[in-house]
Symmetry: C2
Subunit: 247 residues, 2 copies
């Protein structure tokens, strides 16, 4: 199998190509990271907070979430991961994982160990910059979620969150301007947005009745993308996905 | 001036050494990033949200903060930066900065441009891994602030926040188990922790009266480090600063 062909097809290569035009060496090095393919069932815990020597996983298919548990049993979801995202990139360089990761749907991943990443950086320094870009983008999303919790009303944070997911999925070819398939439950949304499940349902009903967005039967439909964007004050610049910057 | 000596003395080299034993090449490459020294006054805006082609800055002396402004004029402080931190590392690879950065005190920095980072990675791939580690650590702190806002009481989040600052400053040699000098006002704390300035004062008074921590006249003193740590549920593993992992 040719590395270049394989890796151009993957959601991660597609995502990184938005930042940098990848050379043949970059693509081959990236392809070498896809070797250890694994499948996990919905609900499988990939990484447990406090675990040592964790792996990272490049997500090819399905959805996952990263979260922290509080001493009182409450859960704060930090982010959701979709195809093209690297699960546990942050923890792979740490002695112990600082958060847990769980498969939301059945998923297909490639397992990546810390030395794989370091070898890849030595072979293809541009890839190092691209991975730093991807990590920066992940951080920018966590920052938006921080602003959600700190400063946005329940309705605005829901609108902002659904628009962000839509942009991310569009980038890897599994969503468009009309909407996207979404396996999240009201409990996932509640734990991510700092709301109760009842409140989540009320907010979603209100956004639907206003003709802005409908989330039903596993699908999010943007009924009025422009007005939803305005309500959310959504500026997708922090996702930095408007075509390759480096050529 | 010898690069190696210069860079071993810097707070950033000291910080990165916690992750990786830096080789002579790594140190020389790092030293080359310190060339463009700049000083800025307290209150100077280093980076403005939406700005294009921003620089990053390695902070040698002083404190800064990164923040986002909301359409209604509210401010959410994302994090504070102390010596050894890289300001604007996230935005340097983006087309437009996703947040603003301001000097809190007078500061001394080295200005770093995106190509400097890429050249450094090409010369010293281990440095790329170390910078990815530093970025991961920054993200881990933002995640903790997300948990602060989503799931921790005002008192617990203040305790957690002061302990985190203490650990970070200890790492770069400007704090110890007793406490640290701190230029933050109640307004900074309020905008970081999602509280009002009045609430910040009430929480600080209560923590002081309980004999846990005193923040007065620009200094934070840990009156009872063990009990404060217990109250906060503070587990410093996410700062990953217990001695070099890679040799």
């Amino acid at each position: 199998m040719k590395g270049g062909v394989l890796s151009l097809d993957s959601p991660l290569s597609r995502k990184l190509s938005v930042f940098v035009a990848l050379s043949d060496t970059d693509l081959e090095t990236l392809a070498s990271l896809y070797r250890r393919r694994r499948r996990f069932r919905s609900g499988h815990e990939m990484v447990h907070e406090g675990q040592k020597n964790t792996s990272a996983f490049i997500l090819a298919k399905g959805w996952a979430c990263s979260y922290k548990m509080l001493p009182d049993g409450a859960r704060q979801i930090v982010d959701f991961q979709v195809p093209g995202d690297i699960l546990g990139l942050r923890s792979i360089l740490f002695r112990t994982a600082d958060h847990s990761i769980e498969a939301i749907t059945g998923i297909e991943v490639s397992e990546v160990l810390a030395p794989d990443i370091m070898n890849a950086f030595a072979n293809a320094p541009r890839l190092a910059t691209a991975v730093l870009w991807a990590a920066s983008r992940d951080e920018a999303m966590v920052v938006e979620h921080l602003v959600d919790l700190g400063r946005r009303s329940a309705e605005v944070r829901m609108a902002h969150f659904l628009l962000e997911l839509g942009e991310r999925l569009k980038l890897v070819g599994v969503g468009d301007a009309k909407g996207f398939n979404c396996p999240l439950t009201q409990y996932h949304l509640a734990d991510a947005l700092g709301l109760s499940a009842v409140h989540v349902n009320r907010v979603l009903r209100h956004l639907r009745e206003e003709g802005l967005v409908t989330f039903r039967k596993g699908r999010v439909v943007f009924d009025d993308f422009a007005r939803l964007t305005e309500l959310a004050g959504f500026e997708p610049g922090y996702l930095d996905q408007d075509g390759p910057r480096l050529r």
